[in-house]
């Protein structure tokens, strides 16, 4: 955040470095004296949880890569070797696999928190867009990581996902061959996925730095959606946010440990313990749970889009499904402009609040539909649910801003905090104990 630094090196070495490479000053200003709104709730700790998850995935990933062989002939075997014969290999592999799932749990909480509190609204559009880019990179990384064990789901997942590109008219097949490095998913595909799976997390780390940078330029939102106005509204990052983040990281890790130690395969698929077989498709190809809503959208489009009253196919069902699926993510980039309300926090938007929770329920339902076979009643439900997904972003979000009457918002964060404290009968808010160091 702009404003003068309060970093004051005391040791000789600190002063020496501060004149040459003021890294300690950067850390101090970003993570010690940096002012955060005093009313942040637990949902605001997921940024820190995500940072920890990224680091955890990189560390375990680098380690298990030392035991992995990216060769279609022995990749499956090398993962089994890692799990059974490498000291603590099973633990490390589980941690990495469960970690991917928990990473997505955290990112979904983080995204929905952003949607609820309007964290994408002016002036935080770039912050939001960088977040969507990180989410896209996470999906690419997770997909390619899931291919590496070279089990049945790995293989057929790769088959299905790379087929998306063959939906592109004219050049699709060639693009697919270039992605696969062959005429079908094979050794060349496995090798390049391994290479990229190793690269992308570091690209994510790079974008995360930009994401945090924009956050520190604009400052954080908070549950009231009212911008920080005075020193009374903020607290220094350390110790207040630091300890809160750390506390919720610990809680989150306890949940993660439960899965790692007691249910390591609960979030995976049994089929992936069968070596990849190009001749036999598993009965149900199901992606990992975090892709299920998009998988449902993909399968909802089972019809060609034709020029009205003719039989000329504009978009065939395959391309239509792929476009809808990618569209479901692309629409997120435009959320800052699709939402026409200038009230940030959904707490003060009585109508949007209902639609927000409908959207959450619909997203979870889409995920459930993604796990169902594409037959019978599930198909019309997929279509209805997909329709609602887009209707929310493209119609409700823009329209509500024009005729929704928001509730009265507090004049400042401090007002909101004091009102809450007096309502709940709390004795006295500590007004002076927390003097923020910077701001202004």
């Amino acid at each position: 955040m702009s404003g003068h630094s309060t970093y004051n090196p005391t040791s000789g070495f600190g002063k020496f470095m501060d004149k040459r490479l003021p890294l300690a000053r950067l850390v101090h200003d970003s993570f010690v004296s940096y002012p955060v709104p005093r009313n942040l709730n637990a949902f605001y700790t997921f940024g820190a949880i995500l940072m920890i998850m990224l680091v955890s995935q990189i560390i375990t990933g680098v380690v298990i890569a030392m035991h992995y062989t990216a060769d279609a002939g022995i990749a499956f075997e090398s993962v089994q070797l890692l799990r059974r014969d490498v000291s603590y290999g099973g633990l490390l592999q589980n941690w990495h696999a469960v970690g991917a799932s928990m990473f997505f749990v955290a990112v979904y909480v983080h995204i929905f928190r952003g949607l609820y509190y309007g964290s994408y609204k002016e002036p935080r559009e770039v912050l939001w867009i960088l977040g969507v880019i990180i989410y896209l990179l996470m999906m690419a990384t997770a997909f390619m990581g899931y291919v590496l064990p070279w089990g049945q789901m790995s293989y057929w997942g790769a088959q299905v996902i790379t087929s998306f590109f063959s939906a592109i008219p004219l050049v699709g097949e060639t693009i697919r061959e270039y992605l696969l490095g062959g005429y079908s998913v094979g050794n060349a595909t496995l090798n390049r996925f391994f290479s990229l799976h190793y690269l992308l997390p570091f690209m994510i780390a790079g974008i995360v730095i930009l994401h945090v940078w924009t956050l520190h330029v604009t400052g954080q939102t908070n549950p009231t959606g009212v911008e920080v106005k005075s020193k009374q509204d903020v607290l220094p990052f350390t110790p207040y946010a630091t300890i809160k983040d750390a506390f919720f990281v610990v809680l989150f890790m306890m949940v993660m440990c439960y899965f790692v130690f007691f249910l390591p395969d609960y979030l995976g698929h049994a089929d992936n313990y069968i070596p990849a077989d190009p001749l036999k498709t598993p009965a149900h190809i199901v992606p990992e749970w975090y892709f299920l809503p998009f998988y449902a959208i993909l399968r909802a489009i089972d019809f060609n889009i034709v020029v009205p009253f003719t039989e000329i196919v504009l978009i065939d069902s395959k391309l239509g499904g792929v476009l809808a699926m990618f569209g479901a993510i692309v629409v997120l980039f435009f959320v800052p402009w699709l939402d026409t309300s200038d009230v940030r926090s959904t707490n003060y938007r009585p109508m949007y609040k209902i639609f927000f929770w409908l959207f959450v329920i619909n997203s979870i339902f889409l995920g459930y539909l993604g796990s169902r076979p594409a037959e019978g009643i599930w198909i019309p439900l997929m279509k209805a649910s997909t329709f609602w997904y887009f209707f929310h972003f493209l119609v409700i979000m823009p329209a509500l801003g024009f005729f929704e009457k928001p509730l009265a918002r507090p004049a400042s964060i401090t007002d909101a905090v004091l009102a809450k404290a007096s309502n709940s009968g709390a004795s006295q808010i500590e007004g002076t104990a927390a003097e923020p160091n910077t701001k202004g």
């Binding site: 057929w156 088959q159 299905v160 790379t162 087929s163 998306f164 061959e177 270039y178 992605l179 490095g181 062959g182 005429y183 079908s184 998913v185 094979g186 060349a188 390049r192 190009p278 001749l279 036999k280 498709t281 598993p282 009965a283 149900h284 190809i285 399968r299 489009i301 089972d302 060609n304 065939d316 069902s317 395959k318 391309l319 499904g321 076979p373 594409a374 037959e375 198909i379």
Partner: protein
Amino acid sequence: MSEHTHDDATRRDFLYIATGAAGAVAVAGIAWPLVSQMGPNAREQAAGAPVEIDVSEIEAGQLITVIWRGAPYFVRKLTEVEIKAADDAQQSEFRDFQPANERIAAAEGATPQWAIVAANCTHLGCVPTKVDTGLNGWVCPCHGSIFDVTGRVIKGPAPINLPLPPFVFASEDTLIIGTDQA
């Protein structure tokens, strides 16, 4: 200083343009091999040569799966009932209609009774499962596309029929997939 300012091109202009041009050529020169290496390599291409299959052992109603270029292909010997069902089917039952006789093949002089089609669903590449319920020949387990015995799509997200690979019968018992030149 001012005596050098005139409209003619200067040495600096020349250096700007020459450096920029060299840079553009270098970028293209670097990008080309970087993209090109992504494609199927020479060994992969060589391994994609046509394959020869002995079909003498296959009975009517049976199906074998052959691999060419790493992808599976169905070779299915149709029964008379199946051929009749495919012939009699109405055009309106299909999304991507093609006459049955264009999709049923045979060696020269023999009765057409072979359906030779790609075994990857045209939706997203899953291998369809064989079924024998009259006209229906395959059902895709992934997203529910249904194909007739000759691989024509009847229902589901698959936009087009199962493609026919290039193939030729070298003799009545020998099928070659990968080329249509005998």
